[in-house]
């Protein structure tokens, strides 16, 4: 039938018909690639090839000074961290990133992680492991059990499978673990409902943190039959043209139990006119235990004062004290301290656990270490406006310091640990002819996406471009497999 009609058509009509059909197919193909009705797609970038037909989906690494791109030799990461964005025509729920790389890293940089930007207010990335050399090392020396992406390392062979270990872990009764769980267990990329209790806890006295702190902070509080009452006095510096909303969230484990928001109408953008703000959180009849408070603000906000009904209050991983004209004592439980000064007036000699350390350059991260066996190491600052970071907790009073978190097999972790068990969600990268291939699965639900782009980070803690050490990470290929809802699911839901 069609053939008979086709034969009757003149040549020009047939030619136009074919070209028209090709046009419809091309436009249809691009519309299909926009909608992706089956909900999955894979994008990749080969860094050994400089030629691309289009702009591509995986954009260049930034900042440029931490990257050295040589044609045909891949992208060489010189400093930590580096970022890249991924353009996607629609949203997705999951991303599986496969990275082919060669690692020329020293023993001081045992960790490589990748993650997606989850929170654009405080620039928080959800990081997942690519390579953890400490675990790779212990996998060869300790008893190893792997089950569906989980890894259990035991100094002595006490468990034959991970489910038995997890059963005991959930009731806080690990085999041969007499003391506190913190003393015999190390975790990495592993979450569980850990019920921390302070032994011989005395009823709390009110506590005032009268030290201004700039930007986002997280802290733990501990209560036992007490009311959680937190009063935050905050100051919007209005140095940035952007609005500075305030969001304070209280978590019990991973569950949100209270949340307060303060919208910024941004009436004085970049004016330098300060605005005072106040947020009060009050929760009664809370079960005993640890609560995490997340103050999600930009660097335009200073937490001027925190008035707390609870005296066990410890800041997690970071404090940024500002506006201080007196000597400041801060306590930490960690034997490592990273310090960065953003202001030349803040350069000084810091005393950390009794040892002096010179902070003589701005915008440079200094790493200080101590062998002190004290639970609370004192940090003496004679000038504020320095960012203090480590893998532990900080407090402004020695009695406030407590760390309910378990030790993590992070970049500070020593393989000479006293722990008996290590539990992790981790798979060692596959190594072939000097090239390593690692896969990371990331949850994109709730990940921040701007102008159709997700932002990713590759982190090698301790890797510095300007330290004179010839260590780097050569990335040859990145492949990102995305999965999301199908068109039918979108229509029916």
């Amino acid at each position: 039938m069609f053939y008979a009609i086709w034969k009757k058509w003149p040549f020009l009509f047939k030619f136009r018909f074919i070209l028209g059909l090709i046009l419809v197919i091309i436009i249809g193909l691009f519309l299909y690639l926009k909608v992706l009705p089956f909900g999955s797609i894979s994008y990749s970038r080969d860094y050994t090839s400089s030629w691309q037909l289009g702009k591509g989906f995986i954009n260049n690494f930034t900042p440029a000074e931490r990257i050295d791109i040589k044609n045909g030799e891949g992208a060489v990461l010189l400093g930590d961290p580096v970022y890249f964005s991924l353009f996607t025509p629609r949203t997705f729920d999951k991303a599986k990133i496969t990275i082919i790389y060669k690692d020329n890293l020293s023993i001081d940089t045992p960790l490589i992680e990748a993650g997606v930007l989850a929170d654009n207010v405080v620039w928080r990335y959800n990081l997942r492991p690519i390579d953890n050399k400490a675990l790779d090392y212990l996998m060869l020396r300790w008893n190893k059990i792997t089950e569906s992406g989980k890894l259990l390392l035991q100094k002595e062979n006490k468990y034959t499978n991970i489910s038995d270990f997890e059963k005991d872990l959930n009731v806080n009764n690990l085999n041969s673990c007499v003391g506190h769980l913190n003393e015999c267990l190390v975790v990495y990329n592993y979450d569980f409902d850990y019920k921390y209790r302070i032994p011989n806890y005395q009823p709390a006295m009110p506590l005032v943190v009268d030290q201004p702190l700039r930007g986002a902070h997280q802290f733990y509080v501990y209560l036992n039959n007490e009311t959680l009452n937190l009063e935050f006095n905050l100051v919007d510096l209005n140095l940035s043209p952007k609005a500075a909303p305030i969001n304070i969230v209280v978590y019990s484990g991973s569950e949100i139990i209270a949340s307060e928001n303060l919208v910024d109408e941004n009436l004085n953008p970049a004016s330098g006119k300060t605005e005072e703000k106040k947020i009060v959180i009050n929760k009664k009849n809370l079960p005993a235990g640890v609560y995490k408070v997340d103050v999600r603000v930009s660097d335009d906000i200073v937490i001027k004062k925190i008035i707390s009904s609870l005296d066990h209050l410890a800041f997690i991983n970071k404090v940024w004290p500002v506006s201080n004209d007196r000597n400041l004592k801060i306590y930490t439980d960690s034997n490592h301290l990273q310090v960065k000064a953003l202001n030349p007036a803040s350069l000084q000699t810091i005393v950390y656990a009794g040892d002096p350390f010179l902070l003589n350059e701005t915008y440079k991260q200094f790493d200080f270490k101590t062998d002190s066996a004290l639970n609370a190491k004192e940090i003496d600052l004679n000038k504020a406006d320095v960012i203090l970071e480590n893998d532990g907790v900080f407090s402004f009073a020695q009695d406030s310091l407590f760390n309910p978190g378990l030790e993590k097999a992070s970049s500070y972790f020593s393989v000479k640990t006293d722990a008996k068990y290590i539990i992790a969600n981790y798979e060692k990268p596959i190594e072939q002819e000097g090239f390593k291939t690692a896969t990371v699965e990331l949850n994109l639900k709730g990940a921040y996406r701007e102008n159709g782009k997700y932002s990713f980070m590759i982190s090698v803690p301790g890797l510095k471009a300007d330290d004179g050490i010839k260590d780097n990470l050569e990335i040859y290929k990145i492949k990102i497999e995305l999965e999301g809802r199908t068109l039918w699911q979108k229509i029916w839901e």
Binding site: L12, L19, L23, I27, F30, L31, L33, K55, P89
Partner: protein
Amino acid sequence: MAKDLGVISREIFYFFSILLFSAIILEIIWPNIILAYFNINYIFSAAFISGLISLTKK
């Protein structure tokens, strides 16, 4: 023969022109929908060359 070539090159010029126009419209509606895969300059070049051929064969 030259006349046929002229007609064919003209039709190809129309094809690339419509494709270029459609690609620009799609890019305006959904940025990067085409540019991520394919540089539109290539379509513009093809339209330009086919247009020149069509003029010379007229």
